[in-house]
Symmetry: C2
Subunit: 265 residues, 2 copies
Amino acid sequence: LTELQHISIIGSGKVATHLGHALYTQGLRIGQVLSRDHTHAQTLAKTLEAEAVQHWAELDLGSIDLLLIAVNDQSIPEVAQAIQRVLPEREPLVVHTSGTSPLQWLSDRLPRSGIFYPLQSFSPGRSPDFASIPLCIEAGHPADEALLLHLGQRISQRVQVTSAADRRSLHLAAVFVNNFVNYLYHIGAELLAEKDLPFALLWPLIAETAAKIQQQSPQAMQTGPALRGDAATIAQHLAALEDKPEWQDLYRRFSGLIGSFSQGN
Amino acid sequence: LTELQHISIIGSGKVATHLGHALYTQGLRIGQVLSRDHTHAQTLAKTLEAEAVQHWAELDLGSIDLLLIAVNDQSIPEVAQAIQRVLPEREPLVVHTSGTSPLQWLSDRLPRSGIFYPLQSFSPGRSPDFASIPLCIEAGHPADEALLLHLGQRISQRVQVTSAADRRSLHLAAVFVNNFVNYLYHIGAELLAEKDLPFALLWPLIAETAAKIQQQSPQAMQTGPALRGDAATIAQHLAALEDKPEWQDLYRRFSGLIGSFSQGN
């Protein structure tokens, strides 16, 4: 087995940036960065000591071991098609980084394909500790799986081969605990903004809520008026949400679901 | 102004326990703990060097400065009534610790009343840093308000006089960012449990989601398929939730609300 040492990247967004930095920091060599947004590609390439390229023809696939595709899910098939056209004799392993997209989008066109999915939400200006981020690996061939596992272990302590079905469940769960949770934070911020109260008043509560589920299951940690069956408070809250029918509706649904915990959902 | 130095507590649940410990640790003297659950009261009293009492007649209100009521919201009126019956000439300040209950439930019956509401979710076996917890103060008289502010500052760096309307908004927002968020964590845990995947895989994502809203607003930090208008992923997720109609419904509603961010909700 040759290790995956030389890597190029398609894409210059958040996943490309965070994965690129994590790999670069661990001593991997990043060759080229190709992105529709050439300015972004140039910015990212500079920090990775890589070359930013603008056209598929400029992509030097013969000299790399791994091509990392970090683009919108929808663009993966067309990217695979473009790669297929410029694929050299000594083909590199090509992986995407998506939680939902099938391996097939690559394996239909490319002889060596895989998935390298980091289970984290990346935001500009933040550097989450990559070592703790779960990395989900999948590959068309056992040898490539081993190569990806080995590469993953250089940047994360939680690398695991993950079936397509498991990866989709992880991504779905991630939407609930990240995207939807963030929207609830937004509701909290807006309810306070209406009274000119700073959102920061909720930070300790948000931090504690997120921390305590590492100690006991969320079901064991559930609290609040709905769990207590406190109908008076629920009625008061629903009345306060009278002019926000969609949030009122969420409130009603969550209260019903949490209420059924008592009956052992 | 005499300071509030001698305190007794009605209740022996989570709020009574955490507030009691915070006050005791800061050198306040806890006199008595009265609770329906006498075993709980004894356990709490022991750790506070206080006396556990079982009957209202045993309550020595003449020798304390503050009586802290930390019971279920619904029980506050009857507790106020019981206190009224045993109130001595030199009446202590009596406060409740509820986010939703009005001051009136006390002030209707008691000459000196107030509210001492810590904006945090308390769980057994956890000791959140009390200094960072916002404390919302309200009182019937300015002199008592000053006394409560002063006491609050001994245990928290975020004490503020809060109107009844603001306190209710804070409590409502807290239900969204704590109770409902925790239920979304539960959904995430269950979706993984079905595939025998450990919930711990989501911890880094949960921690990062909770941390990054201290840097930029939740609206600025929103990500995910709904925000991107990624209809294919949304359809795949809804299909995966086919046998969980209530979670599917939540998914649909959140996606609609987050989708409207793009149009600038």
